[in-house]
């Protein structure tokens, strides 16, 4: 026998189930009066620095059906590439930008939607810049452990081509699964990021 390592084990994950909205966005499922506003709805305010953008999309299962009971969380840097987090040690992020958002997929259409800003560049571990990206976390009934992925921007071709994380993807055609397509909606740049849990277009998910 050798000495014991004393680390604990992480609590095992369990599915968020069909009713995660009761806990995460109770007002959205008409449980009102417990607290005033669901967390994560508003990411930007009038004083937030940076280019306003819309991020939207749907989450598809292996049959091509959009999930109507999923919850999406995003986490991103501010316009200068700084995170609004006590763990951020490179500088002070825009105090008017939370950087974290949470939205359910619509119960009828399956669409999620965030109003946010385009993030700046964040360095990889070796100092090279990662292309602008938004971290996604997806939970739903039938998903046993939350899925981490990233959204990149279709109009950042040069940065995407240099991104050390995208470069890690061995099957190059799968890089496209992380790149949101730019269009315009009411004069705002709008990026559509569809997530495919399974099938030919399966999104690249990360073990981070």
């Amino acid at each position: 026998m050798v000495q014991k390592l004393t680390t604990l084990r992480e609590s095992p994950s369990q599915t968020a189930g069909p009713y995660i909205h009761i806990g995460a966005t109770p007002n959205w499922v008409e449980i009102t009066g417990v607290w005033e506003e669901d967390l994560g709805l508003m990411i930007v305010g009038p004083d937030t620095k940076g280019e306003r953008v819309i991020i939207k999309g749907r989450v598809f299962d292996g049959s091509g059906t959009p999930l109507k009971d999923a919850l999406i969380e995003i986490w991103q840097a501010d316009t200068d590439g700084l995170y609004n987090s006590p763990e951020e040690r490179r500088g002070k992020a825009d105090p008017n930008f939370v950087g974290w958002g949470r939205q359910p997929t619509d119960g009828v259409t399956g669409e999620y939607r965030f109003e946010t800003i385009k993030p700046g560049l964040v360095p990889y571990k070796d100092g090279r810049p990662m292309a602008p990206h938004i971290t996604f976390w997806i939970v739903a009934r039938g998903i046993n452990i939350g899925l981490h992925t990233r959204m990149y921007f279709s109009d950042e071709e040069a940065a995407n081509a240099q991104c050390p994380v995208l470069a890690r993807i061995e099957h190059k055609h799968r890089v496209q699964t992380l790149i949101a397509t730019r269009s315009e909606e009411n004069g705002l740049p709008t990026y559509t990021f569809d997530i495919h849990l399974q099938g030919e277009k399966e999104t690249v998910f990360f073990d981070i």
């Binding site: 292996g62 986490w75 763990e87």
Partner: protein, 241 residues
């Protein structure tokens, strides 16, 4: 905190696999390609932090936070515990959110079809932020078991859903708490997605007679463990070098 390194790799064999056919919904919702392994970058080593000022005084009191005409029906319980990391260090300032069915096993949700009655005085959601020692607690009623469409006669054991924000997005976790002594835990297709019996036992809260409030509430202790971080004590490199 800021002098710490990246998080220990998640032990995927300790967690449920994505594809667990006994839980039918997982069949079409499970990625089939391997996950892309990535040592944490700043994007995952940071995370939002929620201040105590976000939390109202009744947020951790499910007996009162939705009540309209009186207390909800059911057995009054206290659930308490600590949020720790794999290094057994407390995680202060963690946001813990919880949601559950009422005493009859019915959720307050318009898609819910179980015929057990809705309790007019029970909403079923609450939240807390851990203190300096990683502690949280809340008061609620014990949820009932409920049937669900999977097999023709599958029932969920009594459980409370938990969502936890630690200090980094890499630690993000959703799980469920079960109750000591419940035989239905061992018959549940969702519980059994966890491969190891010891892993399941980690999610079973212990009945704690010492914390029970006499003539008032039973108490259950439920500790939650989030991923731990590497120490950087042997690392002199600056970020980015």
């Amino acid at each position: 905190m800021s002098d710490q390194g990246s998080f220990y790799q998640r032990d995927r064999s300790w967690h449920p696999a994505a594809f667990t056919p006994q839980y039918k919904t997982s069949v079409l919702r499970s990625p089939q390609y391997p996950l892309l392994s990535l040592d944490n970058t700043i994007s995952e080593m940071t995370g939002p932090r929620f201040g105590h000022n976000k939390i109202g005084p009744l947020d951790n009191d499910l007996i009162r936070n939705f009540a309209k005409t009186g207390d909800p029906i059911g057995q009054r319980i206290i659930v308490y515990g600590r949020v720790l990391d794999e290094n057994a260090r407390p995680v202060p300032g963690a946001l813990v959110e919880f949601w559950q069915a009422n005493a009859g096993g019915r959720y307050r949700h318009k898609k819910e079809t179980y015929l057990a009655a809705i309790d007019p005085n029970f909403g079923g959601c609450g939240r807390a932020i851990t203190d300096e020692e990683g502690r949280y607690w809340f008061r609620t009623i014990k949820p009932g078991a409920y049937p669900w469409p999977n097999g023709v006669n599958d029932w969920r054991p009594a459980h409370i859903h938990f969502s936890i924000f630690g200090h980094a997005f890499a630690q993000r976790l959703i799980t469920q708490m079960y109750f000591e002594g419940d035989p239905m835990i061992w018959q549940c297709p969702i519980v059994s997605t966890i491969p190891d019996k010891a892993g399941i036992e980690q999610l079973i809260a212990a009945l704690d007679r010492n914390t029970t409030l006499p003539m008032d509430s039973l108490a259950y202790k439920f500790d939650i463990v989030l991923r731990g971080r590497r120490s950087t004590m042997f690392e002199n490199r600056m970020e980015g070098n």
